[in-house]
């Protein structure tokens, strides 16, 4: 007999069996959460194919291939001569290698055990695989956070809820669908593991966990630039604990272990290098490290000195420390020993800063402030469970709870500033929502008393109503949970599963139409241009050209050199003759532009054109002015009424060259800008220094070849003008007899 009902009416079960059942249930839950997490991320593979998405992943993919094909040494010292021509890029020293190393290790392990899997498939499926690990890490973190909560009876409930919520929250899925082979794919997992270990080491005060925290911090540093978030949130946590008077040796041990090891290890990443001791982003961690030593000293003095002496000493001491510290910081910044606050950092505080000062940062769509609706879109009902969870943490205010509060505040703020930082907010929202739901179900799903009273046939109205109200609340939340799953699935399937390399559209009859212009064009480049051909395009497409077409690019998504980008922008924004000079200097062979006017693809270069103008205006304000591209009334026009600067710009000509031909003599319509060009005007858009080399099926990608210099040194534009004149024989004869007006020959 493994179970029986004891004399008090409780069901008694054999403890070993109970443990076994619990373990089985736990495993089952994890398996289902992992299954849900992975399967919802596979929409894109099923709908389209196993393909790398978007922009940055193409670079990561290319770098991974380089790592797999060569050695780690080669990868570390990789000088990439196919990007940023002619500057080149010290790629090995300017990337976070964690992602590539992870997939290459997986590749080699699989190969070793006799499963040769294509590196592309590993890269495509890495993010979903890591998402299931994330939910485990989330479980551990929540469990650790709630481990000291006395009011929470079933701690695992909260933890399991948070794991489930994390598994499918759109805020996280947006960066981790299959094919989205980006740093964030593994970084969020590492972020959570690091935080879990940190909370654990604060709870236990163990050097072992402190060292483990540092290890995973190092892994995180190697994987994502967002590691700075950890670098700041842990010191802040400690600082607030100090202010609360919670100083103890557990905190001291774990922080010092983490800081010393973590900093030393993070400096081994070439891209990070000496940043941890130079950059202001890391100063908080250093400051808190120093502060902890002082606090330790003070607490020692407090024990040995008399109170009056101690107070006097404290005042003198703190004054000296404050002056020395602040003046040292100011001096070091002024002298340039420590890096000035970076632009990206400023834009975190002032959302308008980037737009005014650094257009290149503002031009990235994911650096825009978050619209409030996207909070609901990405987090669904958790957005109102979140404050409740934070409230519970305030109620409790244990060390881990303070951590959750600190993280919540910072995470919410940053998520409000930049769209992409929604990613860092999502985990803590899941923790808080998990705690809330855990508590809620702890109370409302606990019907033991009611059941027992019903069992014992005690006539009691109260228990029935309590039971009913409990059922109603539980049912409501079960409904919310079901709705959450539905919402997440819908969002994932509709918003986050497009590879953006292949576009999906609908035919008039409702059937699906795949627009594959990008790959068509990149493949054309790969097959039809010389291997050392250099392709000029706006930086958005740099990684894709490198990854898919394998051709040399001038600028790419690693926007490290603003001047070079501005040069390309200037070539696009100026007139043909000036652009020709720039292009010849850069050795351009082909120019690639994205044009959506024919089928109404709004993410095209004409819509991005103003950023090119702004970025180049930042460097050549006397030559390029944003105002010139708007009509007198301030409208952005591309039709007959466009301004001269617009009509003459290379980008405009490349986009609309022969646009009229697609409409068979009718007035062509730009479907993105909703503007109609007259057919006669469309015909008058000419191009002299370049010739059309390729235009994709839907005209999304247009590739032009820079013509060779004229054999006899004539100006290509003059030749074009002459050709278009079509003079009669007679005029020509008259012309040949006319004395030319020539400059004095020198």
């Amino acid at each position: 007999m493994v179970s029986l009902i004891d004399n008090e009416g409780y069901l008694r079960v054999d403890p070993t069996l109970l443990k076994l059942v619990k373990l089985l249930l736990l495993t089952l839950i994890f398996v289902s959460v992992s299954f849900a997490a992975v399967s919802s991320r596979l929409f894109s593979v099923i709908r389209f194919e196993s393909i790398i998405h978007e922009f940055d992943p193409w670079f990561n993919f290319r770098a991974t291939k380089h790592l797999v094909n060569t050695s780690f040494y080669e990868f570390l010292n990789w000088f990439d001569d196919k990007t940023w021509y002619p500057l080149g890029r010290v790629t090995g020293g300017t990337l976070y290698p964690g992602l590539m190393v992870t997939s290459s290790v997986i590749y080699h392990i699989l190969k070793f055990v006799g499963l040769p899997v294509d590196i592309r498939n590993i890269c495509v499926l890495l993010a979903p695989a890591f998402s299931s690990i994330t939910s485990v890490a989330m479980y551990l973190l929540t469990l650790e956070v709630t481990s000291t909560t006395p009011t929470l009876k079933h701690k695992k409930t909260a933890a399991l809820f948070s794991a489930f919520l994390m598994g499918i929250t759109p805020g996280y899925i947006s960066r981790s669908v299959a094919g989205s082979y980006d740093n964030e794919a593994i970084a969020i997992t590492l972020l959570l593991v690091t935080f879990f270990l940190w909370v654990k080491s604060v709870n236990t005060g163990s050097i072992f966990y402190g060292a483990l925290t540092a290890m995973f911090y190092f892994y995180m540093v190697s994987a994502w630039g967002g590691y700075v978030f950890i670098t700041n949130i842990i010191p802040l946590h400690v600082f607030i604990l100090l202010l609360m008077g919670r100083f103890d040796y557990k905190i001291y041990t774990s922080y010092c272990t983490w800081y010393a090891l973590g900093t030393l290890m993070s400096m081994q990443i070439p891209f990070v290098g000496f940043l941890p001791i130079r950059s202001n982003d890391h100063m908080a961690a250093f400051g808190v490290f120093g502060l902890l030593q002082l606090v330790l000293l003070v607490s020692y003095l407090k024990d040995t000195l008399s109170p009056t002496k101690f107070v006097r000493l404290m005042f003198a001491f703190s004054a000296v420390v404050a002056t020395v510290g602040i003046s040292g910081l100011v001096l070091a910044t002024k002298m340039g020993w420590i890096a000035p606050w970076t632009g990206r950092f400023y834009s975190l505080w002032d959302t308008n800063y980037a737009k005014v000062h650094i257009p290149i940062i503002a031009s990235v769509s994911e650096h825009q402030p978050t619209p409030w609706s996207s909070f609901f879109f990405d987090l669904n009902f958790m957005i109102w469970l979140f404050p409740v969870g934070v409230y519970f943490c305030f109620q409790e205010l244990s060390n881990p709870a303070v951590f959750v509060i600190v993280y919540s505040v910072l995470g919410s703020y940053f998520a409000g500033v930049m769209v992409r930082l929604m990613l860092t907010l999502a985990p803590i929202v899941c923790v808080c929502a998990g705690i809330t739901l855990g508590r809620l179900f702890n109370i409302y799903l606990d019907v033991k008393d009611e059941l027992s009273s019903w069992w014992n046939n005690k006539e009691s109205q109260d228990s029935l109503f309590t039971l009913l109200s409990k059922m109603v609340v539980s049912a409501t939340f079960v409904f919310y949970l079901v709705f959450y799953v539905q919402h997440c699935t819908w969002v994932t399937s509709n918003a986050y599963s497009s590879p953006s390399v292949v576009l999906a559209s609908r035919n008039p009859d409702g059937s699906q139409l795949l627009i594959d212009d990008y790959r068509e064009a990149y493949y054309w480049l790969r097959m039809n241009t010389p291997e050392d051909a250099k392709v000029m395009a706006w930086w958005d497409y740099g990684y894709q050209i490198g990854g898919m077409a394998d051709r040399t690019t001038f600028v790419d998504n690693n926007t490290w050199n603003n001047t070079h980008i501005a040069t390309v922008g200037r070539a696009m924004a100026t007139s043909e003759d000036k652009a020709e000079v720039i292009m010849r200097q850069l050795d351009v062979d082909y120019v690639l532009v994205i044009f959506g006017g024919l089928i109404g693809y709004s993410g095209d270069d004409i819509n991005k054109f103003l950023w090119m103008v702004r970025i180049s205006e930042g460097i050549w304000p006397e030559e390029i002015s944003e105002r010139n591209y708007f009509t007198d009334r301030g409208a952005y026009r591309v039709d007959d009424l466009a301004t001269d600067a617009m009509k003459n710009s290379l980008m405009y000509k490349l986009s609309f060259y022969r646009f009229g031909d697609a409409y068979n003599g009718l007035d062509p319509v730009d479907r993105v800008r909703q503007q109609k060009l007259s057919s006669s005007y469309a015909k008058s858009i000419t191009l002299d220094v370049m010739e059309e080399a390729f235009t994709s099926e839907n005209w999304i990608v247009r590739i032009y070849k820079l013509k060779n210099r004229d054999n006899f040194g004539r100006d290509l534009i003059d030749i074009g003008k002459k050709d278009r004149k079509q003079q009669s024989k007679r005029t020509k004869r008259m012309l040949s007899r006319k004395k030319p007006t020539l400059d004095l020959r020198v």
Binding site: N77, P86, G88, N711, F712, G713, R714, S736, D743
Partner: protein
């Protein structure tokens, strides 16, 4: 076999073009006096040079010249003698002909030139005076006693040149033009129909004008124009002048080429990193009329080492003769800057074929293990010793701390 060799020997001695095929089409107007009476010496000169001249007689009714057949260029060279026929060839064909590498020699005079040919010359920046304008020089008459020769590579002689019934060209600032003989200071061209000599009725005055002008395109195709046929006619045939001009235009003289371009790292590596020492070598040959020979004594051959801007501009020194080419080279240290650098030799001297060679190489940064170790840098000894001192000091402190405890205190505690 021996007989064949005997046949070939005299041919090998004569000057010939460096090109495998150098068929020449000579265009002559039927309405002018018999060609043989006028230009037999010129024709013989062409024949001597193995230029396989072919005569095309054009008249008012003749078809346009067939320079192309089935899309292929039929002739390497085109020689247009003075003609008044219209529509013998159109401008675009001529431009295409030269762009494909064909050479054109135009001899005109003041009886006028075919419109399309003039338009072709105009495209290149040569503006010959049209029909009706007369070249007049009251001091020298119809002979240039001391011609103002501007380019010694093309024309070696400075002997008097007959210039009768001539027209004169104005030139644009086109860089590819090679002016050979300038009009004398005392000359002018004047439209006799206008009556009075004024700014409108003169085409050129003084040294504004040019009498012999060449042009070499980027593809080394050559075009030559001269405004008087006097020196080409049998009656006043100027052999030195004609051979020089024919030689230059039809690719026999002034021909140089780069035979080899090599560069290597002095330390034997296959690639380059910053601050490596590199050697660049280029072999240059010159066509001496029979074979390719070393192009020696060139003092101004320069190498540029470019990334966006030239980091170096070095004059290449002659090193050795290899096969039939003179090797010029230089050794220099790559700057402390990584990137895609281009070795660029752009040798464009008037009269010579252009040499435009460029090789792009990546110059990488130092690898992680190529920096000097810390102890190799004397400056770092301060920091190294301080770090060591801290470590040793800490260890000593530990030992002292552990083994010099207050034993009395310990005893009290245990009690």
């Amino acid at each position: 076999m021996i007989f064949l060799l005997f046949l070939l020997t005299p041919l090998a001695w004569a000057l010939s073009s460096a090109l495998a095929d150098s068929r020449t089409l000579v265009v002559y107007d039927t309405r002018l006096p018999e060609f043989e009476w006028q230009y037999s010496k010129l024709f013989q000169t062409l024949r001597d040079r193995d230029l396989q001249p072919e005569l095309a007689l054009v008249g008012p009714e003749s078809e346009p010249l067939e320079l192309y057949r089935n899309g292929y260029r039929r002739y390497q060279n085109l020689l247009i003698l003075p003609t008044t026929a219209r529509d013998i060839v159109d401008t675009d064909t001529l431009l295409k002909f030269t762009q494909d590498g064909g050479d054109v020699f135009v001899v005109s005079d003041n009886t006028g030139l075919q419109t399309d040919v003039v338009l072709f010359l105009n495209e290149l920046g040569i503006y010959p005076s049209p029909k009706g304008y007369k070249y007049i020089d009251y001091h020298n008459g119809d002979t240039l006693e001391a011609p103002d020769v501007l380019n010694k590579v093309v024309l070696h002689t400075e002997k008097p040149i007959a210039y009768k019934d001539g027209s004169v060209a104005l030139l644009s600032n086109n860089e590819f033009l090679v002016p050979v003989v300038r009009a004398p200071r005392t000359s002018y061209t004047f439209n006799v129909d206008e009556g009075r000599v004024n700014a409108d009725s003169t085409w050129h005055s003084g040294s504004q004008g040019y009498l012999f002008v060449g042009l070499q395109g980027l593809n080394n195709a050559r075009v030559f124009w001269t405004g008087s046929a006097a020196s080409f006619k049998d009656e006043s045939f100027n052999e030195e002048l004609v051979t020089d001009l024919i030689n230059w235009t039809f690719q026999i003289s002034g021909l140089i080429k780069a035979t080899s371009v090599t560069h290597y790292n002095e330390n034997g590596d296959s690639g380059y990193k910053i601050k490596d020492t590199t050697t660049f070598e280029i072999g240059v040959s010159q066509w001496d009329g029979e074979k390719w020979a070393p192009f020696t004594d060139c003092q101004d051959l320069q190498l540029e080492f470019v990334m966006l801007d030239p980091y170096y501009r070095l004059t290449l020194a002659p090193k050795r003769v290899e096969n039939s080419s003179q090797i010029y080279g230089t050794t220099f240290q790559i700057p402390d800057q990584h990137g895609m650098f281009t070795y660029k030799v752009l040798y464009q001297r008037e009269g010579y074929s252009f040499i435009d060679e460029s090789v792009t190489v990546p110059v990488r940064h130092l690898a992680n293990d190529e920096y000097p170790r810390s102890w190799e840098i004397t400056n770092s000894w301060v920091y190294l010793s301080s770090a060591l001192a801290v470590m040793v000091g800490w260890f000593v402190f530990l030992v002292v701390f552990v083994y010099s405890g207050n034993k009395k205190l310990g005893k009290e505690k245990t009690n």
